[in-house]
Symmetry: C3
Subunit: 279 residues, 3 copies
């Protein structure tokens, strides 16, 4: 059973990601609740600029930051198109962290990579007064995150949950020595990130022979952006060890006119034994 | 007389909202001043993405977050098209909070809802060195907020002020059993919020019979967004108990081509005694 | 030799500016590293909305905030188009502050205005485990900033560096009594800021006679925006004492169709002895 304990002597950290934008004061009101309930917690903004309702974007962002934080950190994620409906408010406990948010797929990457326990939050316990049907971020998720940051155990405020939403999307397919990897994200710089990680290759005992994306083919994996001429595309393993196509000092997604919902890369692989260059 | 006292044992909180954007470092310079003057205060960003000079947007945002925060919080608001002119720099003290900013209408909702005392800041007292004519956020409002966070009383740095700007806009009109409510805000999700609150109805002892907005009529008040089919409009009481028209998983303001300056809802009411459904 | 010491009794501050945007979680991952390494440090967001790769914009933003902060503050700046290439990761130590980032011109204004010592960071010392080639913000700069915040001396983690990048751009030219000042920045409000400061004039013992910008001529220096009629242009010394052309409650850069790369102001000067009005 995973046990989260915070590092000695540090104040508990709550990170906060949402699709609220900031201008309406909704983010502010969640922060107020967090500070009212857990006055000693440290609040760390991740982002509030997730595209409204874009669960997939939130999931990939979470992957990028969750394990940089100290043990015991509470990660609060509110991207919640189904607020008020039957989607469940949940706590996910892993070996090192707590995650609080809606059970709608935002925890996809965590659930695939970590040992975890899931709990369904009991709204009447975390917020005995009353709660709105439209703003669970403020009325259910924030009180829950604050209680966890204060050392309350998930068992005291939530019920064990057997099944959580894991969305597979069939984003990565291997057939013979060709692999098809969907676009996972287009980042702020226009870099295109695909659903193939270095770990996948290790697991399969394969190496890359050729990357195909639209009319671009590359048998070279580059080390860093500035290695390529300005304005030219390159392929590399990004800082999370996922396959990425970038444009040196440019915007690859505009250059390739990427549609993240439809586009994918075709990658030819060969066995590790037939060692290929640059890989 | 309102008395603000902070919760025991907690560090004083300063929240900060502006229309500065962040890229120019103006927000950064205000934060530096706050930390120089009140090194123990906690700084909480609300937003810096208020539309430049949009006092009404700032006022509604403030309504959404101010009372989520612990007692004693200092709310700093810098949306200040009249900087350097005769609009007054003010402190508003309510029972639980301090507000610092320009007297230009940003405190509209607070002044209507809370018992308060108003003070005009004495710039030469809060910043004895010197101050620019173009950046009172850094040179007058930030030092004031920091001093209040340190426990200095408004009376020591400001003069009692009898009249403050309250903008009525005639946003809500009741005639017989029909009420006309202006658009107060279009939020980040495109939800349209109107100047009618549940409290107004309680006060009038009325209930809603029919909501009219452009070509949309609804005699139902919904509980949450996902109750309606995706892409369809609905009416609900939002998380601040104000009337809202939304589009399930969509952008109501685009759908209805809303002009916040001109558009309004016509709402037919009936007396509480003739009980109406869904209300 | 500059000596930075922090103010007694306060926790060390790390400010953070980048061009990452926030949605991808990259900023979040840097914050996690900072908190893991320096759990007591205070993290202050400056901005993550610097235009991707825009070193000049970052340099001007830094000028606006760096000296508002308490002595001992560590300023972390990650705007780094050359990540992974031969541009050096550096620490700049001034009398009051530390600066951490790439040696690519972002420290331009600091290097011109402050006494400093420069150091080249030793990546294998600040991050003995391993580091990516594409994300030095997380893997090299963040650990460095955290170590400095904990009181580690630059000499322990970096080597003295003799030459750093200072970009002169010939942004300000004086010939006889005419001075040509390039556009340094267009800010969030559309104000146009030029490479001429009040200090330059003092140094030259000159005053302004006439400002020419495109078809606009002004022999008046205004005190604040609201002094001019709404929608009309004005010239003033901004809050950093740099020459600025603004539009009262409007967007000067749109009004003048400014191209920051090409446009400049022509300013006629006269000697201090022939005193000119409004200056």
């Amino acid at each position: 059973m995973p046990q989260v304990s915070k590092d000695k002597g540090t104040r508990m950290i709550i990170t906060f990601m949402s699709d609220f934008g900031t201008k309406d004061g909704y983010v502010g009101s969640v922060k107020g609740v967090l500070l009212k309930e857990a006055p000693d917690a440290r609040l760390i903004d991740i982002t509030h600029e997730i595209q409204p309702f874009n669960i997939k974007e939130a999931a990939y962002s979470l992957l990028n930051y969750y394990d940089s934080f100290p043990k015991g950190t509470v990660h609060l994620i509110v991207v919640d198109p189904g607020v008020g409906s039957e989607r469940k408010p949940v706590i996910i406990r892993t070996l090192d962290y707590f995650f609080v948010g809606p059970d709608n797929g935002v925890f996809n990457f965590i659930l695939k990579r970590e040992a975890y326990q899931a709990f369904e939050i009991r709204p009447e316990v975390v917020n005995p007064q009353s709660f709105s049907n439209t703003f669970h971020g403020r009325d259910i998720f924030a009180p829950t995150a604050a209680l966890l940051a204060k050392g309350i155990k998930p068992e005291e405020i939530a019920m064990p949950l057997e099944r959580v939403v894991i969305d597979d999307h069939q984003e990565l397919k291997l057939e013979n020595n060709t692999c098809k990897a969907a676009v996972v994200s287009v980042d702020h710089f226009g870099n295109i990130i695909f659903a193939l990680s270095r770990e996948d290759l290790k697991h399969w005992k394969k190496v890359i022979k050729l990357v195909n994306f639209k009319n671009f083919k590359s048998d070279r994996i580059w080390d860093y952006y500035a290695q390529q001429k300005v304005g030219k595309p390159l392929v590399l393993w990004n800082s999370k060890n996922m396959l990425e196509i970038a444009l040196s000092q440019g915007h690859a997604a505009n250059y390739f006119k990427v549609d993240p919902k439809k586009d994918f890369a075709l990658i030819e692989l060969s066995d590790v034994t037939e060692k290929v260059e640059n890989n």
